[in-house]
């Protein structure tokens, strides 16, 4: 598991539309069980197996600009 | 020969005065009897690197003025009565957004399409709102062409100073007739400050926005109270003319072209020994109730003369203590009372 998070989701902006979940090829985004201030069960990123390749499709599909994506520096 | 003196129509004088006052944007739509304004602007604006646009509608024209104004450009539109009805949308939005701009109404007969004769039937529309919402707008009413030119320049200063739409309310007679006008050099009548609210791209500053929708609880009420404060300041800008009013036993109240005809009738009456005088409001809003009250209350009779079925008469009745002595003489639908008609009316009332 990578030490740093590649997909950062601003949970207060997330409205749980699920566009990112639908189009994530790795299946590592899911609707969480906790809700934000607006009452939405915001999307969470869980990449235990380090599948994320930082393709940023999730950010591309996000209507709320709630997702920022990072990738590991090449060593 | 004075090269600034020109024989010019009212409409063209208004257009040239606007250019002299620094107006650099005009949008309008053809309607009689004001067509000389867009026609003049169509060749004159490019000469001063300004923008002339023949809009697809009155709605588009006033909204173009809205757009030009928010860039800080001095902007105007003109029309005649039916077209001014259409412009009310934009005027209300400009009042709400606090955008300066000048609207010229060369009034014609109404209601509906009416006719193309001069008229004063839009007094209510001009002074009591016109568009929706709680707003006030300065209304300037010239009675001669030189005065129209002077007021047109002042209109831009009021507009910028108070960040408000300003209406020049004239009529088809004044628009079409010609007079010798000595154009005075434009000098601002108000101290004008740099417009620090315009939208020109947020370069080295925080982004700005201009809007009139305020749905947050209490936001609109707060905005309305703020506007009232401004309207109260604007109320001090009253202008009026009196003529032989000091000892007048009969006070004629008339504005615009009727003020001019009224003056001629008063001269006829004075020759006959009748103590007649004139009160002529120049700003219709704010209305000079104080002066109307002063001379109207002193006079035995007050005669309100308008080119309509009786509109300003209501403001005179509010200003004069004893409204029973206020009489009205008007001709609607393009009819014009002559100085002889008014003289007869004065004689009848003073008997």
């Amino acid at each position: 598991m990578s030490k740093e998070i590649k997909v950062k989701i601003d949970k207060e902006k997330c409205k749980s539309c699920g566009f990112c979940v639908l189009y994530c090829a790795k299946g590592i985004l899911f609707t969480g069980k906790k809700n934000n201030a607006k009452g939405f069960f915001y999307i969470e990123f869980d990449d235990k197996l380090n599948k994320c390749n930082s393709c940023a499709i999730c950010a591309l599909m996000c209507p709320e600009a709630a997702i920022e994506v990072f990738k590991e520096d090449k060593k | 020969m004075n090269k600034n003196k020109r024989l010019i129509s009212g409409n063209e004088a208004i257009a040239e005065a606007a250019i002299m006052a620094g107006c650099r944007f005009y949008a309008g739509y053809p309607i009689t009897p004001q067509n000389q304004i867009p026609e003049y602007m169509s060749w004159r604006m490019p000469e001063v690197n300004g923008v002339f646009l023949q809009a697809e509608s009155e709605l588009a024209a006033i909204n173009m003025v809205f757009g030009a104004s928010l860039t800080g450009t001095r902007a105007m539109t003109s029309s005649s009565s039916p077209g001014i009805s259409l412009k009310q949308e934009g005027i209300s939005y400009m009042a709400g957004c606090e955008l300066p701009g000048v609207i010229v109404n060369i009034q014609r007969g109404g209601p509906g399409l009416g006719n193309i004769q001069g008229s004063q039937a839009d007094y209510f529309q001009a002074t009591k709102g016109g568009g929706h919402g709680d707003y006030r707008m300065p209304v300037l009413a010239p009675s001669t062409i030189p005065e129209a030119a002077e007021l047109m320049m002042a209109a831009f200063d009021y507009a910028d100073f108070y960040r408000t739409p300003v209406l020049l309310l004239s009529d088809g007679i004044l628009g079409q007739m010609m007079e010798a006008v000595e154009f005075k050099e434009y000098k601002p009548i108000k101290k004008l400050v740099k417009k620090d609210w315009i939208l020109d791209g947020a370069r080295n500053r925080v982004p700005r926005s201009i809007f009139s929708l305020m749905t947050a609880p209490g936001a609109l009420e707060k905005h309305n109270w703020k506007l009232l404060e401004k309207f109260s300041k604007m109320e001090k800008e009253v202008l009026s003319e009196t003529y032989l009013a000091e000892d007048a036993e009969i006070l004629v109240c008339a504005y615009g072209i009727m003020g001019r005809i009224g003056k001629a009738a008063i001269q006829m009456a004075r020759k006959e020994g009748i103590k007649a005088g004139l009160f002529r409001p120049i700003t219709l809003w704010p209305f000079d109730s104080k002066t109307a009250s002063l001379y109207g209350s002193k006079a035995k009779k007050v005669l309100v003369v308008e080119q309509n079925l009786g509109q300003m008469v209501e403001d005179i009745k509010l200003a004069v203590e004893d409204s029973k002595k206020v009489f009205f003489h008007g001709r609607p639908g393009g009819g014009v009372a002559s100085k002889e008609d008014l003289f007869e009316k004065i004689k009848e009332l003073i008997k």
Partner: protein
Amino acid sequence: MKPVYLKPESLKDVVTSYCPGCGHGLVHRLIAEVIDELKVREKTIGIAPVGCAVYAYDYFNFDVAEAPHGRPPAVATAIKRCLPDRIVFTYQGDGDLASIGTNEIIHAANRGENITVIFINNANYGMTGGQMAPTTLPGMRTTTTQKGRDSKLHGFPLRVSELLATLEGTVYIERVSLIDPANVIKTKKAIKKAFSNQLTGTGFSFVEVLSPCPVNWGLKPLEALKFVKDQMIPYFKLGILKDKTEEMKKEKGA
């Protein structure tokens, strides 16, 4: 860690008032990305419509004016004529642009104003609660067509892009959608072209975005994407309806 995607500078760091899965937020973000990429944030003036996007000035991090309903093209015309070196765009919904503002959009297009228009087509009046729009599909239920839009009573959905493409004054017109990542990328490309054309003085550029409105359609966000794909796209065909960009560039010597 290196950033791959960061929130664009041209968007404010706020939560929007849009419903979950609404296309407005997505298109806002794409516009903001394009403005960042073209480095024109400090000279852009946007015109917000009346409709759900009326609060666009709360979301965009550049100058924005709110125009009366349907009038953004008239307002934008005047701004661009007064400040020709600024980037001026209107952002309008289908009620604003295709109904109350048809006159303004047709004439701004016909004059060939050097502005960019982003047109959001979601087949209904969103802000007022989902009434029939000129773009509502035949048979589609809205609060004013409760048994479905009957074309005999209400006419047919208006294809604004096709209409504007017939005008001499228009340069670039494309209809796009947001149904999947490939189409979102296409939409961004179209928006970028529409803004770039303004920079080169090429002329009137128009992008129509078929946009989901899940709440008023009574659908879940993902179902709404499917509705756009299965119901809207067959009627409102995607693609470039007109492109005189290269021709105009040559003419301008750009």
